[in-house]
């Protein structure tokens, strides 16, 4: 399986994602520059963490105008797997591919910490290899990771089983402890924690690998 890792100016977890996919997961990965109008022959897209365009305006607010985002939207509309991690989640929210918004952490400070996530649903191409209620130890590293949305949207996310992960001990004030969500088509996901940082035994946890492995399994099922 071939992953495309989108590189915006200011992306800084692009190489980490590439390393996790190629070395820890054993799949292929290709870097895709932000001004590319096409995604080539990739099977899934990762929007990595970082500070796209410096994030001086609002996280992800400029990245959504990048030429590559048009291609990502078309890819998602056609059912392609898209995973936004950290800044990637912020970009997906700004682009309207996922609902809600990410605002400054409750304590108004950047937080880098390994946290416990609870898997809320396994009915997704990103968690199909996990078990319901499984606890994953995965690091967060963000200043604007507090997930917010209006009550109706939150109810809808829950009713439609679109909450992927919740924080066990909420670090940033996210409403209903939400750490990751799905779109309605269940092929686009965003999460603030960094699974690529929990993919190598040397980094202290390999709990993030189950997310990448799920994507490989899901892809194998849809293209047997």
């Amino acid at each position: 399986m071939k992953f495309g890792v989108i590189v915006f100016p200011g992306s800084n977890c692009d190489h980490d994602a590439w390393y996790a996919i190629t070395r820890n997961l054993g799949q292929q990965a290709e870097m895709i520059w932000h001004d590319s109008a096409t995604l080539g022959d990739v099977d899934a897209v990762i929007l990595p963490g970082g500070f796209s365009y410096g994030d001086y305006l609002r996280c992800g607010a400029i990245a959504k105008f990048s030429p590559v985002m048009k291609a990502v939207k078309e890819f998602a509309a056609a059912g392609g797997l898209v995973a936004g991690i950290c800044n990637g989640f912020q970009i997906l929210v700004e682009s309207g591919l996922l609902p809600g918004a990410l605002i400054r952490n409750r304590n108004l400070r950047f937080i880098c910490r390994t946290v416990d996530l609870e898997v809320e649903t396994t009915n997704s191409p990103f968690t199909c290899n996990a078990t319901q209620g499984q606890i994953l130890r995965i690091p967060i590293a963000h200043g604007e990771g507090c997930y917010v949305a209006d009550e109706r949207t939150l109810d809808e996310l829950e009713a439609e089983d679109r909450v992927l992960f919740r924080y066990v001990d909420n670090p940033n004030g996210s409403l209903r402890n939400i750490a990751g969500i799905l779109n309605r088509g269940r092929n686009v996901m965003g999460m603030m924690p960094h699974p690529e940082r929990a993919s190598d035994p040397l980094m202290g946890s390999t709990d993030g690998l189950v997310i990448l492995q799920s994507m490989v399994s899901a892809h194998a099922l849809s293209f047997p």
């Binding site: 880098c112 035994p201 040397l202």
Partner: protein
């Protein structure tokens, strides 16, 4: 052109004698622009004119040192065709005036020093010193400076995408008006990909890349070379504003441009901006450089040549490319959306010639500017110290040692710094095997199967009591930090923070510190490959403690680190190096003296360098052989504090320790004698065998015990506490002080 007046000379912090030297070099009166150029290049910050004579005493070479002092950073060979570049720099003065931007641009500056050599930065550490957070008079300002500095470092490092993997934070009253912000950065590259800041090839184009030049930071270097007065607070516009996103683009563009093979030499524009980069590149390459300021990308119209030459706008680089291959370089910078412009040419006459629309505004021999700055042999007497030799009567009072331990664990120097380091992304790039909170940070090099360990240490208190011994203790401690994680220390970088060198007793502190450091660095085989000297750290005549900060790097095989925390119940706790000893005079610089007795006196702990070296060799072997489950060296707070820190892991495993010692309880628990490491192991015999072979004591002092924390001597309890409660005291220390 207006004539130069004595007032103008004084305003550039040049003495009359220095001015006469300038006139002699030029053979005429300087222009105003030239005066400004000499003013910054001959400032203490850029020229090291007070310290240079003594810095020569430091060892700088070894088999693995590829580049010593004199370049943007030191370089060390780590084998397998790879090398690391690293250096430490201070941003003390700007961080006092504007904490957030001052600290942020400190990070930016040192990162550029690393990637200008072709290395990709993979780690940052910070050594921070502030005034006490709970001082009734200065506390609120100290808290504001700390929160601003930490947020500034986080802002720049996190956005740039380099992990901040460790550091240290200490508090003393002498830093109230003069905080210290020393930033260390380390990068990695192939040995074949090293770039130097040398101009070469007459006729080659001189190219400016990165951010546009504005009026910010003019005179930053001179500001950093003067004491603070009430007026200094008016100098906020002298502090630059950082743009980490721009720097990230600059990094990627520079590394990509270097790969074209069209770049001959490259240097970042740091202190003294365009002035420093042009004359230093010319001087190193034995060539001249001619530039025309009309081609310099500018942020605002109407800047004078003086302002353009002295601006310290951030995120700029100067490079020399091969003639005819400019377009290859420009194409890379265009891709990254950055300005790049040819602003001049390499010449054969050794001059720095600056033109403005064709009219010459400055013409100075490069070498005179960069290398012929005055060198002063400043007079020195006995080191300045304010402390008595004998302990106060209060030292001998019997105490409740449970309370003593809690007081020390809650104090600013010793408490958990989690509040600080959680604001730093210490994991980005997924190489951080050991992050903040360990004895040394460990960052793996993915390409080679090796890892680099690094530690930062400083101790103004020891150095105040005895600069020479304090400096030696510092080198020993830093090397011990690395050895405790299994790494062999190989090279060092130093940041020397002192007061006004024109005062003979301050100069004496500097001289003795350098000599002590030189002796210890030679002994431990950790040559100094570069660094920084920050003088005039005084506010209204109050000098800071003499504060050398040392960053040492070591190399080890990539593997899961041992860590400092006890992991399992019922393991043997060993004290490698033994209980050591002390006396009332040598207790005067300890954390016990500071936090409990609230006084300072006497001398720093005694160091036996031969024994220290054996302890370090032993612990390296023990850790590498995998004989222990935890290893943590003793430092601030002595045995009791180190035992507590070992017990604060996620496993919740403490210890039950029973000692047999004739020392009085306070000394036994809290003396800071060096050369000691705490180990926990399931194989004590094997550990003891290694220790014996190295001629080092390995004392069985107790066993690990879940949830317990108990230390007794001859069977009588000295400390007996509930572990979770003790951990809370330590965890909440900093936040309690911040909300004081």
């Amino acid at each position: 052109m207006s004539a130069i007046t004595p007032e103008m000379v004084a305003a550039h912090q040049l003495t009359e004698a220095e001015y006469q030297k300038i006139v002699a070099i030029l053979g005429r009166e300087p222009t105003y622009t030239e005066l400004g150029i000499f003013g910054v290049m001959w400032s203490e910050h850029c020229s090291y004119k007070s310290s240079r004579l003594h810095l020569k005493k430091l060892p700088t070479r070894s088999k693995v040192v590829v580049q010593g002092p004199g370049e943007n950073a030191g370089i060390v060979d780590i084998g397998d065709g790879y090398a690391i570049a690293f250096k430490i720099e201070s941003h003390n003065h700007p961080s006092f005036i504007e904490p957030f931007q001052g600290a942020a641009t400190g990070v930016g500056g040192i990162l550029r020093d690393i990637f200008t050599m072709g290395a990709r930065p993979i780690a940052v550490m910070d050594a921070l010193r502030f005034g006490p957070l709970d001082d009734p008079e200065t506390g609120s300002r100290n808290r504001r400076i700390l929160t601003g500095v930490v947020a500034g470092i986080a802002h720049y490092g996190n956005c740039f995408g380099v992990p901040t993997v460790g550091g240290e934070t200490q508090f003393e009253a002498s830093y109230s008006g003069n905080p210290l912000v020393n930033v260390f950065a380390l990068g990695v590259f192939k040995k074949s990909d090293i770039f130097y800041a040398r101009a070469a090839g007459v006729g080659n184009p001189v190219i400016y890349v990165g951010a546009k030049t504005g009026k910010d930071g003019i005179h930053g270097a001179s500001m950093a070379s003067a004491e603070f007065t009430e007026e200094s607070k008016q100098k906020r516009p002298n502090v630059q504003v950082g743009d980490p996103f721009m720097e990230k683009l600059l990094l990627e563009a520079c590394l990509e441009a270097m790969r074209t093979g069209a770049i001959v030499g490259i240097q970042d524009m740091g202190a003294a901006g365009l002035t420093c980069s042009t004359c230093e590149m010319g001087s190193r390459g034995n060539v001249g450089i001619e530039i025309d300021l009309q081609y310099v990308p500018q942020r605002e119209a109407g800047m004078t040549p003086y302002e353009i030459m002295l601006s310290e706008s951030q995120e700029r680089m100067l490079l020399v490319a091969e003639k005819g291959r400019e377009e290859e370089v420009f194409a890379v910078f265009r891709k990254w959306g950055l300005d790049a412009a040819t602003i001049g040419v390499v010449t054969n006459d050794g001059m720095l010639r600056v033109k403005d629309h064709g009219r010459v505004v400055a013409e100075i021999p490069n070498r005179a500017l960069a290398d012929d700055a005055p060198i002063y042999d400043r007079p020195y007497t006995k080191p300045f110290r304010k402390a008595p030799m004998e302990p106060p009567p209060g030292f001998y009072v019997p105490r409740d040692y449970n309370d003593c331990l809690k007081t020390i664990l809650a104090s600013g120097d010793v408490c958990s710094k989690r509040w600080i380091w959680e604001q730093y992304d210490y994991q980005v790039r997924t190489n951080t095997l050991e992050g903040p909170g360990g004895d040394a940070a460990i960052v793996r090099i993915k390409e080679t199967g090796k890892s680099v360990a690094m530690a930062l240490d400083g101790n103004g208190r020891y150095c105040h009591l005895d600069p020479r011994e304090g400096a030696k203790l510092l080198v020993a401690e830093c090397c011990r930090n690395l050895s405790t994680v299994g790494a062999l220390p190989v090279a060092a970088t130093n940041n020397l923070n002192f007061g006004n060198p024109e005062r003979p007793e301050i100069m004496a502190q500097l001289v003795e510190t350098i000599e002590g450091m030189a002796e210890a660095c030679a002994f431990f085989e950790t040559p100094i490959t570069g660094g920084n000297v920050s003088l005039y750290n005084e506010t209204l005549g109050e000098p800071i403690y003499p504060t050398p900060v040392l960053g040492i790097v070591g190399v080890l095989e990539t593997r899961t680190p041992v860590g400092i925390h006890f992991r399992n119940d019922a393991r043997v706790v060993l004290l490698l190096g033994g209980l050591g000893s002390s006396d009332p005079v040598r207790m005067g610089g300890t954390q016990f003296a500071k936090a409990v007795v609230q006084a300072e006196w006497g001398l720093p702990p005694a160091l036996d360098m031969e024994y220290e070296k054996r302890v370090q060799a032993a612990v390296r072997e023990i850790v590498r052989e995998g004989l222990v489950e935890s290893a943590h060296d003793l430092s601030d707070g002595g045995l009791a504090v180190a035992l507590a820190e070992c017990s604060f892991g996620e496993a919740g495993v403490g210890a039950f320790v029973n000692l047999e010692s004739a020392l009085d309880p306070a000394t036994l628990l809290f003396h800071e004698g060096p050369s000691r490491v705490l180990l926990s192991t399931a194989e004590p015999e094997r550990v003891e065998a290694v220790a014996r072979r190295h001629g080092v004591e390995a004392l069985r002092i107790g066993v690990t015990a879940a949830g317990r924390f108990r230390i007794s001597n001859h069977g009588a309890d000295l400390v007996n506490l509930d572990l979770p409660e003790l951990k809370q005291v330590w965890e909440n220390g900093l936040e309690n002080l911040l909300h004081a």
